[in-house]
């Protein structure tokens, strides 16, 4: 690097910036094009989520969880429902568990497709990949709307099951989506994964060492790209995940390219899970009979429910006094935790790299700022 001591350039990337994935700000100090200091500034989208959760009834918080990671409302619902069910000791019927798996894996598909799409958009691929991803995502959203009534804010799960049962028609719809997906992935991979420009841009850029990933409690695809074989679907075996045959891809280098590839490989595994779930889905009730909507109370105590959301470990820590509202309501958002290592990954790289590293972490500001 140059030894000419030039004036450092302090640039505030965001909150109004095309590629900060929302209202996020990075205070970057640049030496020429090199990042010498980076401070993530968040909180622009803070909406008191946890406080609202403590003022709401148990059920009333469910639609609010949709707004956490607004790409993946299904998994947010599930994580919240899971922790409440743990505390209240509600047994979820089998069919509901299968429906939840289907919804969660579809959410994973759409989230990963869009995440890699936006990552490529950050690389400068002028929206082509992201629009292909949106094209496929549209089908999943159509499915979600058919089932739950809303495309993104699904508010679908309830304590002890799901709100609406899947009829044969919607199951066929889901099967059609899943059957199409590998073709889309092939097209997508052909478009990008061997592109020399992309390889040059992403390989060996933003390396996250395994130790740092563990120390910073990073989770999800970001951690797995760094070689941390940690997937809550395998660790906790929550729901009925122990019945499915699927593998978890783990990278070695932990650079941006690995994070990109891990997502694509995970999508292929998700398709596998979906095939099995759609084949094996049993009949029965979709919600536990003892679950009730009004006057729902949770016995005093606390509970932590976590699931493998597309972005990482999403957990809800709840404390109940036995009343109609939680005493404490805390969210462990994966995006927020994964974002903490941004500076370590960006230092010494260029501005352009910082942008794609941020893109490769795959954050959603609704979840970071809560």
């Amino acid at each position: 690097m140059s030894t000419i001591e030039t004036q450092m350039l302090e640039v505030s990337l965001g909150p109004q910036h095309p590629s900060t994935h929302g209202v996020f700000r990075m205070d970057v100090v640049l030496d020429g094009e090199y990042v010498v200091k980076l401070k993530p500034v968040m909180g622009y989208l803070h909406r008191n989520h946890e406080q609202i959760g403590e003022k709401m009834t148990w059920l009333g918080s469910m639609p609010y969880t949709d707004r956490l990671d607004y790409f993946c409302s299904m998994t947010n619902n599930w994580a919240y429902a899971l922790s409440v069910e743990k505390m209240a000791g509600i047994k979820v019927p089998e069919r509901a568990e299968y429906i939840r798996v289907i919804m969660a894996e579809l959410t994973r598909l759409l989230n990963h497709a869009c995440a890699v799409g936006f990552l490529l958009s950050d690389c400068g691929a002028w929206f082509t990949p992201v629009l292909y991803a949106l094209r496929e995502r549209e089908r999943i959203l159509d499915f979600f709307e058919t089932v739950s009534g809303a495309r993104m804010m699904c508010n679908y799960m309830r304590f002890g099951g799901v709100r609406v049962d899947l009829d044969e028609q919607s199951l066929a719809m889901a099967r059609a989506i899943v059957a199409r997906w590998p073709a889309f992935l092939d097209e997508f991979e052909k478009l990008m994964t061997e592109n020399e420009v992309l390889l040059a841009r992403t390989q060996r850029v933003g390396i996250l060492p395994r130790e740092l990933a563990i120390n910073a409690s990073v989770s999800g695809p970001v951690a797995r790209a760094s070689g941390v074989a940690y997937d809550i679907r395998k660790v906790d075996k929550y729901g009925v995940y122990d019945r499915f045959d699927f593998r978890v891809p783990v990278g070695e280098t932990g650079d941006t390219f690995d994070r990109f590839m891990i997502r694509i490989l995970e999508m292929r595994e998700s398709v596998k899970i979906l095939h099995q779930a759609l084949r094996d889905i049993p009949s029965g009730p979709c919600i536990a009979p003892e679950s009730k909507l009004r006057g729902f109370k949770v016995p005093a105590g606390d509970g932590y429910g976590r699931i493998e959301s597309p972005k990482g470990e999403l957990g809800f820590y709840l404390v109940s006094e036995g009343g109609a509202k939680p005493y404490r309501y805390h969210v462990r958002p994966p995006s927020f935790v994964n974002l903490t290592i941004l500076e370590d990954m960006c230092l010494g790289h260029k501005v352009a790299d910082a942008i794609i590293i941020l893109g490769s972490i795959d954050i959603v500001l609704g979840e970071v700022d809560r």
């Binding site: 030894t3 000419i4 030039t6 004036q7 350039l9």
Partner: protein, 168 residues
């Protein structure tokens, strides 16, 4: 032709004057570019098209950019020179010397018998070809020396600019 000459000369002199008087270095540079453009225009007027193009290519495309980078590397980004005046202490001396020189030159030119000389009918046809031929025949030794000089300058510039790093 006189009109064109006068216009171009006005542009050139204006550019030069601004380049040496403006306080902001970047403004100076832009004025200098105006000056270069004026000179290139003169070259075109003098039927030296090739030189005009070379002037644009090298002075505007290379030298100006080089100066630009030097400014950017040594000053703060707005390019202002700071609180102190841009002129040295003995600026009146410099202005005096320059004025004297200009006056003297004008006087000498007026006295010379070349003053009212009119041009030969120079054409631009085939000049480029001719220059090319001359460069590799009669002028081949200067050309080679020039090549060596440019290489030396290149290496020298790199070495000078990088010497600090070696010391560390």
């Amino acid at each position: 032709m006189t009109i064109v000459f006068l216009t171009l000369s006005a542009i050139t002199v204006l550019g030069a004057l601004l380049a040496v008087t403006l306080r902001n270095l970047v403004h100076c540079l832009l004025a200098l570019v105006l000056f270069f453009m004026g000179i290139a225009g003169h070259f075109f007027l003098l039927k030296a098209d090739f030189l005009g193009a070379v002037q644009i290519l090298i002075y505007i495309g290379a030298v100006a950019v080089l100066i630009l980078f030097a400014i950017m590397l040594t000053r703060n980004i707005s390019g202002t020179e700071g609180g102190r005046g841009s002129l040295g202490g003995a600026w009146w001396l410099g202005v005096g010397i320059a004025t004297t020189l200009a006056g003297a030159m004008c006087v000498f030119v007026r006295r010379s018998d070349l003053v009212s000389k009119l041009p030969y009918g120079a054409t631009e046809e085939g000049v480029v070809k001719e220059i090319g031929k001359l460069l590799v025949t009669d002028w081949v030794v200067p050309l080679e020396i020039m090549a060596v000089l440019l290489t030396a300058a290149l290496i020298g510039a790199v070495v000078i600019a990088l010497e600090e790093e070696k010391k560390r």
